[in-house]
């Protein structure tokens, strides 16, 4: 009963639609007053401004956290020179020292601490000529060996960028080398992939009849 009434109602609604379409269509030249009343009421209550955020819905986290030249132990942070003022610089990782135990250097041919770290001032890095490279200029340290990557990074085609492509509209942010690469183990690490699209159920179902038929075919052939 109710379904019959519903379809009847639907038919009536459809007929009304058709009628309206025909009438309004013939009066197209004087349209402009064809707007629905209900929608007019809705748009009257439109809030003045909708909050737009360009980033909150995107995962903009950097692939790696930038730790900086600080030694963290418990909740305390140590300046490198608080120990190294008295401790001599080492070319190799000192096995016997507690503080850097567990630190593995997997940087290819770059096997020596002092290739990057400054032998006298451990709070900075070292350039070829012994001059200091500040931590914020770490890109220049990496450029000592990775010329082509540095050239591409400067050109904006190596590493991730964020913000604006159009400099007239806003700033473009480039990530530094160490925001993606761990300097002690710089090769990019394998990561968990996000969820895959689902294989269409219909296509999956169709696979079976096809294989069945193929098997039957081979049986008949024998």
């Amino acid at each position: 009963m109710s379904t019959g009434a519903q379809t009847g109602q639907k038919r009536r609604r459809a007929m009304v639609y058709c009628g309206i379409v025909a009438i309004v269509g013939s009066l197209l030249t004087v349209s402009g007053c064809s707007r629905g009343e209900a929608l007019d009421a809705d748009s009257a209550t439109v809030p003045a401004a909708v909050e737009i955020n360009f980033e909150s819905h995107l995962d903009l986290s950097t692939p790696r956290e930038r730790t900086g030249l600080v030694h963290t132990k418990g909740s305390f942070e140590y300046d490198c020179m608080s120990c190294h003022r008295s401790l001599k610089a080492n070319w190799h990782l000192p096995e016997q020292l507690m503080e850097h135990r567990g630190r593995v250097l997997e940087h290819g041919n770059n096997r020596f601490c002092l290739n990057c770290h400054h032998p006298e001032n451990r709070n900075v890095f070292v350039d070829y000529d012994g001059s200091e490279i500040l931590e914020r200029d770490v890109v220049l340290l990496c450029a000592k060996c990775h010329g082509p990557q540095h050239r591409d990074w400067v050109a904006g085609v190596h590493g991730r960028q964020n913000g604006f492509w159009d400099p007239a509209m806003g700033e473009k942010i480039k990530l530094d080398c160490i925001e993606c690469h761990d300097p002690h183990s710089p090769s990019f690490k394998a990561m968990e992939p996000l969820t895959a699209p689902t294989y269409p159920a219909r296509a999956a179902g169709k696979l079976h009849p096809v294989t069945d038929r193929e098997e039957e075919g081979t049986e008949h052939g024998h």
């Binding site: 903009l60 085609v157 969820t195």
Partner: protein, 323 residues
Amino acid sequence: MATEDRPEMESKAVEDVLQPMTRRTFLKGGAASMVGMAGVVAALKPLLELEAGELSIDDLLQKHYKKLEPADLERIMRRLEADCRQRYGADAQIQDLKPGEGIEFAYALNLSACVGCRKCAHACMAENNQSRDNPDDINMSYIRVLEMDMGAINVEGSTQYYDPEKVPTNGKYYMPVQCHQCRNAPCVKACPVKATWQEDDGVVVVDYNWCIGCRYCMAACPYDARRFNYKKPSIDASKVNPNQTYLSNRVRPKGVVEKCTFCLQRTRAGRLPACLEVCPTGARIFGNILDPDSEINYVLKNKRVYVLKEDVGTHPRFYYFFD
């Protein structure tokens, strides 16, 4: 000769036409018109399946985007905002951003860097308001990441359903595919109602209110870049991106085709596309190809660049490269 033939033919024709109406011709004509009526009813049948308020008179009578007066478009966009609030409970701001002067967008993707993590495909969903059944559903994403065997660019042997614990897998490489915004776009040629076209900045757009849902464009596209809304899009109110434009990421109606627009709601405002902003390996490069100093031009000049399916003559604005 001709003058002799003519009167004969004319007299025959007149005899044929002036035959008195018999019962047989009357019934024939009646039956034919019945069939015609049935056809009309069948054609209008989808109207029976409409939910109340799904289709307004405004929708039916709306003109093509290119023929809309600015005031009309403004009115339509406000109506669509109201629709979005009514149907999805989400506030939206729908704009109409025009292509910029002297700007032609192009995209490049570094296959040496891509690890196949699919962050781009998921960000595309977050940005472009595609329909999804759950937060992990990316079937409507404009990006398909293909996993391929090393040694060849064999798209037919690729899979988009790979799901290992970690990527990249040894011996495989990954190629995300999305709309190539072709200069010679087959989808635009295939559309029987001109509901899809190429804008001055190279972006191929769809007027969702003009699309009739025939899907010819999907059949024509060699890159599987287009998606069809088989059902009314479902999207959680909290997941609706309010930054929308008429030609890109506004929530689509059922029965229309949609596609990547290089995030024109972002890129025409000077921003980078969403897929690029989330790429953890920096594999994606976007910019203005008409600017000789742009990153995209640096790639085209200095890297080993190729286009996918060059042989089909689409002249894409999307390039792949190795470095």
